[in-house]
């Protein structure tokens, strides 16, 4: 597969294999083993193997999958299913603990997809659970959780950094089960340039059946949050997977015509039209998400950056969103990712606050300072990894 133009952008055909099959899963019926070989590798690296299984199952293609490939899909399915069972179990515990708050708890991101039984939960593996409570109830929530063995291991600097500038507490971890919990009071840091109102998020959140205190964001806010997370954040490590989340949410909610009518106005209201514009643009480009033309135009009008910047961002995101696999990367990819990393900090904090933070990060506590570092820099030894792999 050579270079080809997809919607005006030159990309390598191989690089788009995973995305083109996610967009047209029926084509998985006719793949040869060579192509499956590449697909499994790309999907595994993007944490999308479970998603591929779900698409295969949904389109009743399992009998078309060659025998040697099947165990990989089954294995990913088992892992993902187990994960969502555990997330459901932990959520039940957490919502029980936080019932004493007597104040709504909004479940965010992946855990919300599980709780609301959205298609975006199928085949998805989450590294942590995200909850949001009103800012003035945060301290009380933390106290209640602490009693039930949810504690933070952040050191002094990290702890202070989180509490002073971030939109969440330092990550909490269950002492026995090691599940990670992010307790938010907003969806963006207090220092970010965009200022979505937490009050409005709470006001429109929807109750969840069976849990008196639990809420999930309304469909528009769920999409806006997912878009914000992807296009304002530094974790492009999961870019492909997060884009698939957005695509799945849009396809699901988009069945309701009203959703499209509400989406862009809500983006403007929440000060999030820029990430919404990127989200819709790249979902359409890369995953062929069926977004109505009129809505795309509306979103562009509200959120498109000046055209020179728009062109640059297209180039950057295009590379950052494809799966992190050698078959998908070109020489510009690494540069693109590091530029986006700097950008995400610039978006989250004014420069005078960012500089000391970057300085501290680089020279004092490179491993502990940021969540994302845990995944890449703090790599365990073989023994630790094997021990970790054994569930207790």
């Amino acid at each position: 597969m050579g270079k080809q133009a997809i919607n005006g952008l030159a990309v390598d055909g191989q690089a788009m294999l995973l995305f083109s099959l996610l967009a047209k899963p029926q084509q998985m019926a006719n793949l040869d083993l060579n192509t499956w070989d590449l697909l499994i590798r790309q999907a595994r690296n993007a944490d999308l193997l479970g998603r591929i299984y779900e698409l295969v199952a949904e389109h009743k293609l399992f009998d078309d999958v060659p025998l040697p490939v099947r165990p990989h899909l089954l294995s990913a399915r088992r892992f993902a299913r187990r994960h969502s069972v555990m997330v459901g179990f932990e959520l039940g515990n957490l919502l029980g603990i936080l019932a004493k708050l007597d104040s709504p708890v909004v479940v965010l991101k992946g855990a919300a997809y599980v709780l609301a039984e959205l298609p975006a939960a199928a085949g998805r593996v989450f590294s942590d659970i995200d909850l949001m409570v009103a800012k003035d109830r945060l301290a009380e929530a933390e106290k209640l959780l602490k009693v039930q063995a949810w504690v933070s291991s952040a050191d002094g600097y990290d702890d202070k950094y989180y509490r002073q500038w971030m939109h969440e507490l330092p990550p909490l971890q269950h002492m026995k089960r090691h599940t990670l919990l992010d307790l938010h009071h907003a969806i963006l840091p207090q220092t970010a340039r965009l200022k979505p109102s937490s009050k409005r998020l709470f006001a429109s959140a929807l109750p969840v059946e069976g849990y008196p205190n639990a809420h999930v964001l309304c469909p528009e806010d769920m999409v806006l949050h997912s878009a914000t997370h992807l296009f304002q954040d530094d974790e492009f490590k999961h870019g492909a997977r997060d884009l698939v989340d957005l695509d799945t949410l849009l396809r699901h909610f988009g069945e309701d015509e009203q959703f499209w009518q509400r989406l862009v106005p809500r983006g403007i209201e929440m000060d999030l039209s820029r990430p919404l514009y990127y989200a819709l643009r790249f979902c359409c480009r890369m995953l062929e998400t069926p977004v109505p033309e009129a809505i795309l135009a509306q979103a562009a009008q509200a959120g498109r950056p000046p055209w020179l910047l728009a062109g640059l961002m297209d180039q950057l995101f295009q590379r950052a969103l494809v799966p992190d696999h050698p078959s998908c990367l070109d020489s510009f990819s690494a540069v693109a990712k590091s530029l986006l990393f700097v950008r995400s900090h610039y978006l989250r904090m004014p420069l005078h606050l960012l500089l000391p933070h970057l300085f501290h990060k680089a020279f004092i506590s490179p491993i502990n300072a940021r969540r994302a570092d845990r995944a890449t820099e703090n790599r365990p030894t073989i023994d630790a990894l094997i021990a970790e792999n054994k569930p207790r």
Partner: protein
């Protein structure tokens, strides 16, 4: 106060048993939380009863020993050494009925 308390195995976290002939200990596995416990055969019998729905300590006693009269020491033993212990382990839940 105690009389109104019942215990039950949470249907959302069911218990599976590994039982082998001639052994007086049983493996109890909770398929949702993933916790595995080794308990006495007597304890397993109690859990099996509580899978069917909430029961008070008196009702459990009557099911286990249908021919015996209720007796305070035995009830206390059942409550303190089985039910409270199981509750701490997360095997069963308490409800006020």
């Amino acid at each position: 106060m105690w009389a109104s308390v019942s215990w039950f195995v949470d249907p959302a976290n069911p218990v599976f048993f590994g039982v082998w002939p001639g052994e007086n200990t049983v493996v109890a596995y909770q398929s949702t939380s993933g916790d595995t416990h080794m308990i006495s055969a007597m304890g397993a019998a109690v859990l099996e009863l509580l899978q069917t729905g909430p029961l008070s300590v008196e009702a459990i006693f009557a099911e286990l020993f249908p021919d015996d009269a209720l007796e305070v020491t035995a009830l206390n033993h059942l409550r303190n050494n089985f039910l409270i212990h199981f509750e701490q382990l997360g095997l069963i839940k308490k409800t006020l009925s």
